[in-house]
Amino acid sequence: MNTNIETFKYDNRIVRAFAIATVVWGIVGMLVGLLAAVQLFFPDANLNFQFITFGRIRPLHTNAVIFAFVGNGMFMGIYYSLQRLCKARMFSDWLSWFNFWGWQTIIVAAAVTLPLGLTTSKEYAELEWPIKIAITIVWVAFAVNLFGTIVKRREKHMYVAIWFYIATVVTVAVLHITNSMTMPAGLFKSYSMYAGVQDALVQWWYGHNAVAFFLTTPYLGLMYYFLPKAANRPVFSYRLSIIHFWALVFLYIWAGPHHLLYSALPDWAQSLGMVFSLMLIAPSWGGMLNGLLTLRGAWDKVRSDPVLKFMVAAITAYGMATLEGPLLSIKTVNSLSHYTDWTIAHVHVGAMGWNGFLTFSMLYYLFPRLYNTKLWSTKLANYHFWIGMLGILFYVIPIYIAGVTEGLMWKQFNKDGFLQYPNFLETILQVVPMFRLRAIGGTLYLAGAFMMAYNLYRTAKAGQFEPDTEAQAAALEKVPVIAGKPSWHRILEGRPLFFTVLATVSILVGGLVEIVPMFLVQQNVPTIASVHPYTPLEVLGRDIYIREGCLGCHSQMIRPFRSETERYGEYSKAGEYVYDHPFLWGSERKGPDLAREGGRYPAAWHYNHMDDPRSTSPGSIMPRYSWLLTQKMEVDTLPSHLAALRRVGVPYPAGFENGPAQKDLQAQADKIVADLKLGSVKADSDKEIVALIAYLQRLGTDIKSAPATAAVK
C-alpha cells in the first residue's frame, strides 16, 4: 500500500470562468434564437437590416447555443470533474487559460462574421477557414491539457466519464478536420474541397456527429460524474455504463446518412444510416435508464433539490430525443418529417431539455461549491425549473404540430389526383400561429435563464470564492491497487494511450466504411453530359445566396416522391451537383424547394420578390432583401474565387479568370438587365440582384437542355 500522501490544489478559477461564459453566451444564444423565431411570423422584425436577417442569424443562433453555451458548459464540467476524478490539478494552467480565451475569441469572431454573411453555409460548420484553424489550435490545446492531466493522475483507474471525454476530444478533432477541407479564395471566403453528393455525405457525417460527440458524449460523461455527486450515490450499474460507452461510440458515427434519406445519396449509404440509427436506441436508452436508476432510493430528494430536478428532466429529455431520432431515421417516417418543423422540434427537445437543463443543473451545483456558500434561493431555482419546463413544452408542442401539418399538407392530393395545396405558401401560412406560440415558449425559457443568472450572481455575492481547493491523495503506484488478477478492462483503462487508440478505431470504422467508397466508387455519382460549371455571374450569385443563408429556408433537393415532382419538377440526380462546392441541399423548408427554380418565373418577378416578397406572394414570411437592389457586386474578388474553384476541380480553362470571365459576366448581366426591362424593371447591371437572378434562373435547368436519352453517360 502506498503511504506517500501528496497534497495538491484543484483549480477553481478556470471552472468559474467557463461557468460565467456559459451563462452569458447561453443568454445571448437564446436571445438570438428568439429574434429568429419572431422573424418567422413577423419578417419586418429584422428592421430591414441585413445583419440581423433570419438567414444570417439562424447560424449565429445554432453556433451560439452549440459551441458557446454548451461548449463552455462542457469545458466547465470537464475542468471541474476531470481534476477530481484524476485527483490532480490540470496539467497546465497556461493551457487552461489558452483554452478559455481562445474559445471566447472564436465565439466573438463567429458573432461578428456570421451576421456579416461570412459563412461556408455548411450547417454547424459555417465559420470560415481562419476561424476553423483557430478552433483546431484551441482544441489541440484542450486535448494536450486533458491527456496531460490523465497521465499525471493519482487515481489508477479512469472513471467512465473520462472515457466519454476522450471520445469527445478525439472524434471532434477527426470530424472538424475532415469537414473543414476547404480551398481559401480570400481571407474570409473558401469553397469546400468536396462537391455535391460527396460534400453532403461528409457534411452530414460531421453534422450528425457534432450532435453526437459535442452535444451528447461529453454531456453523458458529465452526467456520469455530476448525477452520482448530486444524488450522493454511485451510478446504478457500472457494467451498463461500459456497454453504453462502447456501443455508443461505435454506432453513432454510422448514423449520419439518415439526414439524407431519399436524396441523391446512393441507396446503400442511406440504408446503412437508417439501420445504425435504429440500433442506437439500445445504448441510448441503456444510458438513460442507468441515469434514472441511479436515483433509486433518492427520489424524495428530487422533489426539493433543483439540481436533481433539472438532471432528471434532462435525462428524460435525452431518452425522448434518442428514441425519436432513430424513429425519424426510418425512411417512411422521414419521408414525412424531413424538411418540416418536426426536425426543429426534435432538436429542441435535445438542446433545451438535455443540454440546457443539464447545464443549468451543473451551474446550480457548482456555484455554491465554488463560493463556499448555499444557493441564494432554492425557491427561485425551482421556479426556474418550472418556467423552463413550460418553455420547452410551449416550444416543442406547437412545432411538432406545425411539422406534421406541413408534411401532410405537402403530400396531400385531391380526388382528381392534383396537389391539394399546390401553393407552398398556403402550407406555411397554416402553421404561422404555431410559430407565434413557439416564440412564447422561447421567451419563457429565456426568462428562466435570466432568473438563474440573477440567482447565481446573488450566490456569488453572498459567498467567498475559493480559487483553489486543497486535496490529498496517494501518489500513483505502478501496481494495481485492488487485489486479485487484473482484468482486461482494468488493463485497458489503466493505459490511456491504448484506450484512446481503441476508441479512435471504433469511431473511424463507421466513417471509413461509409465515406471511402463514396469517393472511390465512380458509379456512386453518375455524371450527366449536359451539366456544366456555373458562369462567373452565377458564381457571384451563388456566393450571395450563401452569404444570405438562403438554404436556411430553401432546399435544393427534390426527393423522388410524386408529391414533390408534381410540385417542383423532375427529382434531383447526384450528377447535377458535381460542380456544387459546397452543396446547398439545405435541411429545412420555410419556403419552396429551389432545385428547379430556373425559368419558373421571369427575371422581373425575382427582382420584385427580393425587393418585397409580399408584393408577389401576399402573406409571405420571407424577409425583404432590398439591399441586393442597391449593393454593387464584388467583381474584384471574382478571379480568386474562380481560381479556387478550379483548384477544387471545376474545369474552368486556364486563365479564364483573367479577362474572359469578366467579359462573360458583363454579357450575361446585360442580358438579365434586358430581361428585367421586359418586366418594366430598370436596373443597373452591376448590382447584386442581377447576379442572384442569374444564379436562380440557372438552377435545375442543365438536365432540361439535353435530350433525356443522351443525358446520362
Binding site: 450522493n232 454511485p234 440504408s271 445504425f276 430528494k301 486543497e470 486535496a471 482484468s487 467508397p517
Partner: protein, 72 residues
C-alpha cells in the same frame, strides 16, 4: 439460420453491395465482445469504479446546500 435471415433482409435493400452485411456483423461481433467482457469484470472492481466520483480527495466537508451535506 440467423445468418440466412439477416442476409435475406439486408439483400432486399437495393444496391446494398454487401456493406449492410459487413457492417451488421462488425457491430454484432463488437457488441457481443463488449458484453462478454463486461460480465467477466469483478464485483470489487465495479464497486470501486462506481465510487470514484464520490471521493474527490478534498480535505474538508462542507454543508453547501439545504439538501446536500456530502463531500464536495
Amino acid at each position: 439460420m440467423i445468418y440466412n435471415i439477416v442476409r435475406s433482409i439486408l439483400r432486399e435493400a437495393e444496391n446494398i453491395n454487401g456493406y449492410g452485411l459487413f457492417s451488421f456483423f462488425l457491430f454484432f461481433g463488437f457488441f457481443i465482445g463488449v458484453l462478454v467482457w463486461c460480465f467477466l469484470l469483478k464485483k470489487n472492481y465495479l464497486n470501486h469504479m462506481g465510487d470514484l466520483p464520490l471521493d474527490g480527495g478534498e480535505r474538508k466537508n462542507l454543508s453547501t446546500d439545504n439538501n446536500q451535506s456530502e463531500k464536495i
